[in-house]
């Protein structure tokens, strides 16, 4: 199977996957180090072999490297590389001793580093496994203290034997808000890359299906809005794409006041619509269109619930009878984005849900209002949807 065709889908889906994996690893590392650790991922890209020499750091500089071969359904390599001075500091932090104490890597220091690699690698790999529905098992970390280019050699050999490019995901670290030059590389074998591409293509079909549901729903909502406001309103839907739970909250807007709708679409929470709207924005939108500020919030609720109802009806035609339809009422909450979304996201990750996101834009005259819709499907129901043909 060719891996060239789904390049765009790979970009979007796997950026989201990378973000979620990095977030999962960051949480584990934050607990392990008792410091604020954040990981920023660049997503997957193809690196020519010539550039590969520099992926673990300046090629002639010494680094501490932890290599975790991936086993199971998805074969590849995880490599964590740190400049030696940073690694010394990390060991001091882990062993609770003053910075500057560690100057060499004895058995204890190596063990501390390997455990760190284990924690980061396992959480990263577990997230990959959950997302891809595949077994991804990292082996125990191998330790090396050596030149940055030298530690890459065995990994390059396995990743590049069939190609002159290496498909790599690079993730960087921030510790207590400061960039630190730790690098996490994920390289997948040719066969793993093909499995990933197959998965993404299946996911793309689901997204097409969801897009059709949404466009059908948008037409109904536009009609309702026209009846309420007395003039034409265009409802423009974006395309659904897989999203990362960790990106639900925009840090810059975490304190912003939102109206959050959670509407069960199927029984037992197998599918849920989450709509996140800035109430103030909607009031402004209505003020520009009809002056009906008092009616703004109830109308917004009505619109979102119309979306939910319409999606629920359409989903009912896509899922088997036992999983279709729901009599549960939608739930509205209002408050700061961070406070509402963070606990909710945590629950959904634990409940094994997949997250898809799109935007819906309402336009009338020069006024525009945008809301974000998230559709959650339980992993099993998501797989069920993937079996439908899309014309």
């Amino acid at each position: 199977m060719s891996t060239a065709a789904p390049a765009l889908a790979l970009d979007t889906s796997f950026k989201a996957l990378s973000v979620d994996s990095a977030f999962s690893a960051a949480r584990a590392l934050t607990t392990w180090l008792n410091r604020d650790v954040r990981l920023h991922t660049e997503g997957f890209h193809s690196a020519p072999l010539a550039e590969f020499s520099e992926l673990a750091g300046p090629p002639e500089e010494p680094v501490v490297a932890l290599h975790l071969p991936l086993q199971g359904d998805l074969q590849g390599d995880l490599l964590i590389a740190l400049p030696e001075q940073i690694a010394f500091q990390l060991v001091d932090m882990l062993l609770g001793q003053p910075v500057g104490t560690t100057t060499a890597f004895g058995e204890l220091e190596q063990s501390a580093m390997q455990e760190t690699g284990n924690i980061v690698g396992s959480s990263f790999a577990n997230c990959l496994a959950r997302w891809l529905r595949l077994s991804v098992v990292p082996a125990s970390p191998n330790f090396a203290y050596d030149l940055a280019c030298a530690v890459l050699a065995p990994i390059a050999a396995s990743a590049a034997n069939l190609s002159d490019e290496v498909w790599v995901n690079r993730t960087c670290f921030h510790l207590d808000g400061q960039h630190v030059d730790w690098r996490l590389l994920l390289l997948l074998s040719e066969s793993a890359r093909e499995r990933v591409a197959e998965h993404v293509q299946r996911e793309q079909l689901v997204c097409y299906d969801l897009d059709m549901l949404l466009h059908h729903t948008a037409a109904e909502v536009a009609t309702q809005l026209r009846n309420e406001l007395g003039h034409d309103v265009r409802v423009i839907c974006g395309d659904f794409a897989r999203a990362a739970f960790s990106e639900l909250i925009d840090p810059a807007a975490a304190n912003g006041h939102i109206e959050m709708l959670t509407a069960p679409l199927t029984p037992a929470g197998a599918g849920t619509l989450l709509s996140v709207t800035s109430a103030d924005e909607f009031v402004r939108f209505l003020a520009q269109t009809s002056g009906g500020r008092q009616a703004a919030v109830p109308l917004m609720h009505t619109l979102q619930e119309t979306f939910a109802r319409s999606l629920r009806q359409t989903l009912a035609g896509r899922l088997t009878a036992e999983h279709a339809g729901s009599e549960s009422e939608p739930d509205w909450q209002a408050g700061p984005a961070g406070e509402l979304l963070a606990p909710w996201a945590k629950t959904q990750v634990a409940a094994d849900h997949e997250l898809f996101r799109t935007s819906v834009v309402f336009k009338t005259g020069r006024a525009t209002f945008e809301t974000t819709l998230h559709l959650l499907l339980h992993a099993d129901r998501y797989a069920e949807m993937g079996t439908f043909d899309v014309c």
Binding site: H67, Y145, D146, A150, A153, N161, S163
Partner: protein
């Protein structure tokens, strides 16, 4: 003794090869890979290849990645640059077993044997080598003297 402070040296990345004439020099960093250097002292030429895999039969792609095709191409480029094939001699560095005994396969040893075989096939003598072990190496090659300097973390540099 060759000093890393003397003049600039071109870096040869993974799977690359290049030929230079004095006063230019070449350098690379090796783990399980092999740095194959060929010299023609009279012509003041040096070529360096950074090989990562033993045989082109095990994979596909750029010829510089594989011991057999990389050695062939390095000889060809030396000749095109003006080297006399009869004067060519070789030195090889690298082939370590990175990440210790737990690593999956002894790729370094297979690379070493593959390069030796190919140079023997071309009847080019290996006049010095620094291979094996479990540590990475920096390698510098000087066309003026046919000297190769090897540096390992924690050890004094040596010239072969």
């Amino acid at each position: 003794m060759l000093s890393t402070a003397v003049g600039p040296a071109q870096f040869i990345g993974i799977g690359e090869l290049r030929v230079v004439r004095e006063p230019e020099r070449l350098r690379t960093v090796l783990g399980s890979c092999i740095g194959v250097a060929l010299f023609d002292r009279k012509a003041m030429l040096a070529g360096l290849s950074h090989v990562i895999l033993p045989s082109s039969k095990e994979g596909s792609g750029a010829r510089g990645k594989f011991a057999d095709t990389a050695v062939d191409d390095l000889i060809q480029q030396m000749m095109e640059a003006g080297a006399d094939r009869a004067r060519l001699c070789g030195k090889m560095v690298g082939g370590a077993r990175m990440f210790g005994a737990e690593s999956q396969s002894d790729l370094g040893s297979r690379n070493i044997e593959a390069v030796r075989d190919r140079l023997r096939h071309h009847r080019i003598a290996i006049i010095a080598e620094d291979v094996g072990g479990m540590k990475g190496r920096k390698m510098f090659a000087d066309p003026a003297t046919a000297a190769v300097e090897v540096q390992i973390i924690g050890e004094a540099p040596r010239v072969i």
